[in-house]
């Protein structure tokens, strides 16, 4: 009963807000660009519209690649691809992971131990490696297979996290109160467990979004990602490898785009985490 009242100094709250907005701005920029590509592109990404390895000009804002295709168009499409991959992979990872995690939280001791051990083994593998295995197992390299592969790779951590969070919620008095109020277990999961684990999970999803984007770039770099015309930043990097000294922009541009989105997503996640702490029921 003797609780020490400690209040968060206002300075910290303001800094958290800045992080959130900076992250949102960066991510928002890519989202706008990605949406734009659905209705308009400067050039046809596959057309040879200029000379080879041209520098930036009024016609080609980022110059051209080694085949004469406009780089800026490819960058824009890269934004859309990255966002599709991020969203798709996180969604699949969430669907699989949260389901498994909730089941594990309810499981009896030995089953839960077995599940936890399996998840731990999966988590020990690098995300990229698992994604590569799944892509290799699925014959064709496509955007869809890359997304599914990454989703599967991400689901293990989501499952582990969900399991711990759900277990913590399941031992609270309000869950027991829900049971004595006559609520069934599925209903309890839906209206009590999921909303209470959601804040922490959402921060995790934001971080995984960044991971997925970078992982997809790596897959594409290795030639396992989406083939053209789905130009991903990773593939642009791979193609610009040979000419990085003579036409560096070809590699720097996609690199910057990738970094900006990844940083933006991480800032967003940080800002979100700072946001969810103060609103939790305080004593």
């Amino acid at each position: 009963m003797s609780t020490v009242a400690v209040t968060t100094p206002p300075r910290r709250a303001r800094r958290g807000s800045l992080t959130l907005w900076a992250g949102a701005a960066l991510v928002g920029l890519h989202v706008l660009v990605g949406l734009l590509t659905l209705v308009w592109l400067p050039y046809d990404p596959t057309a040879f519209t200029g000379g080879r390895l041209e520098g930036p000009s009024l016609l080609h804002w980022a110059g051209t690649d080694r085949l004469g295709r406009d780089l800026f168009t490819q960058l824009m499409i890269g934004s859309r691809i990255a966002l599709e991959v991020g969203t798709g992979a996180v969604a699949i990872g969430a669907a699989i992971g949260v389901t498994l995690g909730i089941l594990a939280a309810f499981a009896g001791s030995w089953l839960d131990d077995a599940l936890a051990a399996t998840l731990d083994i999966l988590i020990a593998f690098p995300t990229l490696l698992i994604a590569m295995l799944v892509v290799a197992a699925s014959d064709t390299a496509s955007l869809g297979s890359a997304i599914v592969a990454l989703g599967i790779a991400l689901s293990a951590i989501v499952a582990r996290l969900t399991r711990i969070l759900a277990r913590r919620v399941l031992v609270t008095d309000y869950i027991t109160a829900a049971r004595t109020s006559g609520s069934s277990w599925p209903k309890i999961v839906l209206i009590h467990v999921l909303p209470n684990i959601w804040p922490t999970l959402s921060v995790n999803f934001a971080l995984q979004f960044g991971l997925a984007v970078i992982a997809e770039a790596s897959l594409s770099y290795l030639g396992l990602g989406a083939p053209p015309p789905n130009a991903s930043w990773g593939r642009m990097l791979q193609e610009a490898q040979g000419t990085v000294y003579t036409a560096p922009l070809g590699a720097i541009a996609p690199g910057l785009a990738l970094v900006s989105l990844a940083i933006g997503v991480n800032l967003l996640a940080d800002g979100l985490r700072d946001r969810i702490d103060p609103t939790r029921s305080g004593r």
Binding site: M1, T172, D173, Y174, T176, A177, A178, R179, T180, S181, G182, S183, S184, K187, I191, H192, P195, N196, T279, R280, S281, G282, R283
Partner: protein, 258 residues
């Protein structure tokens, strides 16, 4: 006929002995019974058995004459309308992500109680001394005592005949504790009450009957006034002697300062 009848119930094992052994007690309609025990007495387990959250290893628990079987869905739905519980910690017994209305209305929805839920929630909130528009707020906007009132509102909203309280005032400040005890006293006029507590003073103020639990067994039971005036069992005497009294002249086990 008893509202609740616990017949020679046994449960579980811990540290070489059963958690509950040969426990029998009756709660009549309109009774206020205080269950007193320290840690390791098994009082929490007994409460969970009475709520139908676990099944006894031996013995029977009856509610209104019918055996309490957690596996019988239809019976349990009826039972849950009749018996509700208030927990100790006002900070973890309310879902922080739900508005007070949803929290208090949950039994009405899950037990499919007919009627105007909004009105019933409002009535319950008023009955516990809160304002009706508290329903639109979140738990973290209330103090510990007010949260406990919300928990009590949730417990009484479906009109139960039996109210179980698990250390329901132990986490509250002294002045708040008195008010909540008074609230329980008012409520006990229209429902039976089983009040589990380690605090004999609270039980003495609230319950007409007292049951003393020690290491899984009932060692003494009877009218509160009689037991307090003339405790028979050594454990009861030890408990009463251990409680510090306000006026140092009264007998207590700690020496008053010189």
């Amino acid at each position: 006929m008893s509202l609740v009848s616990v017949e020679r119930v046994g449960f579980g094992y811990t540290a070489g002995r059963r958690i509950l052994e040969d426990v029998s007690l009756d709660i009549a309609p309109g009774d206020t019974v205080g269950l007193v025990g320290e840690s390791g007495s098994g009082k929490t387990t007994l409460l969970r058995l009475l709520l139908g959250l676990v099944r006894p290893d031996s013995g029977t628990i009856r509610f209104d004459g019918a055996p309490l079987d957690p596996r019988d869905r239809a019976f349990m739905r009826g039972f849950r309308r009749q018996a509700q519980v208030v927990f100790q910690d006002p900070y973890s017994s309310l879902d922080p992500r739900q508005k007070v209305f949803s929290i208090v209305a949950e039994p009405l929805r899950s037990l499919r109680v007919p009627g105007d839920h909004a009105a019933m929630v409002g009535d319950a909130l008023e009955a516990v001394g809160l304002e009706r528009h508290a329903a639109g707020r979140y738990p973290h906007q209330f103090s510990g005592g007010q949260r406990q009132r919300i928990a009590i509102a949730r417990a009484i909203v479906a009109g139960p005949r039996l109210l179980l309280a698990d250390e329901a005032v132990s986490a509250l400040d002294l002045t708040t504790r008195v008010r909540i005890v008074e609230l329980f006293a008012r409520l006990s006029r229209r429902m039976s009450l089983l009040f589990v507590s380690h605090d004999i003073g609270v039980v003495a103020a609230l319950c007409r009957r007292i049951v003393i639990l020690e290491r899984g067994r009932i060692v003494e039971a009877g009218d509160t006034a009689a037991v307090l005036a003339a405790p028979q069992h050594p454990y009861t005497r030890k408990l009463l002697a251990s409680v510090p009294r306000l006026s140092p002249e009264a007998p207590s086990s700690t020496e008053p300062p010189q």
